[in-house]
């Protein structure tokens, strides 16, 4: 427990900020097709929120929220969503990720919009899991003084 981690101001601010950062990350992921942002950026922001939590409340507490097993499951789930969407387009007679080939709805433009969102969600899940596991793997065991970033 370093001095930064004991500070009640930082602990309270982090506890209040983390849900809003996660909400912003979801916004960035869902608006990736129509505006700036996308799966990668949203996933990085979501991962940064959990990394921030783990930095202030301790690695052990962070691992309680985001265990290594959950990390692995999320990383492979996102990749599976991405690959399955792409392969579904091939199965339906298009090219890889050629969305409007999928006869899900009568309007091809709408199918394309929904599938782009699905792909972005898959990318976001993978990126957030990989970012968090990178941090957990690199970070020192415990009770090392660390800077509060972000």
């Amino acid at each position: 427990m370093s001095r930064i981690q004991e500070s009640v101001i930082i602990r309270t601010v982090v506890r209040i900020m983390v849900p809003f950062i996660q909400l912003f990350a979801l916004y960035v992921i869902m608006h990736g097709a129509s505006g700036p942002g996308g799966g990668f950026q949203g996933g990085v922001i979501f991962g940064a929120a959990i990394i921030l939590y783990a930095m202030i409340y301790g690695i052990a507490e962070g691992k309680k929220k985001m265990s290594d097993a959950l990390d692995k499951i999320l990383a492979s789930t996102g990749l599976t969503i991405f690959a399955a969407t792409g392969l579904a387009c091939i199965v339906c007679g298009g090219m890889f990720l050629q969305y409007h080939a999928v006869p899900l709805l009568p309007d091809p433009a709408k199918v394309s919009r929904y599938l782009i969102d699905l792909v972005e969600i898959g990318i976001g899940i993978t990126v957030l899991a990989v970012m968090i596991s990178l941090f957990f793997d690199i970070s020192p065991p415990e009770s090392e003084p660390e800077e509060a970033e972000e």
Binding site: V28, P36, G37, G38, F40, Q41, V44, I45, G47, A48, I51, M55, M131, L134, F135, I138, S139, P140, E144, P145, E146, E147, E149, E150
Partner: protein
């Protein structure tokens, strides 16, 4: 567009880059690199490349700094050369 802002930002960019490679204390170098990333993000947005600026701010100034500091906590913190 706003060329005074451009010139100022690029000047700070060069200053940050030179400071980051010439400073001895590695923690200071990491923080300067983070400032470099932030200025670079502003430059990207100024060049109407919002997507790249977004990525630069999130990855360059956010995650990379955290990972560097976490790595630094396991090592010595001084540069030999």
């Amino acid at each position: 567009m706003i060329w005074i802002l451009d010139i100022t930002m690029l000047f700070f960019l060069v200053v940050c880059a030179i400071a980051a490679i010439s400073i001895k204390d590695l923690l200071s170098a990491i923080i300067i690199l983070s400032a470099y990333s932030l200025i670079m993000a502003i430059v990207w947005v100024e060049m109407h490349s919002v997507d790249v600026g977004f990525t630069e701010a999130a990855v360059g100034a956010g995650i990379t700094t955290v990972l560097f500091i976490a790595t630094l906590a396991r090592t010595e913190g001084r540069s030999e050369d």
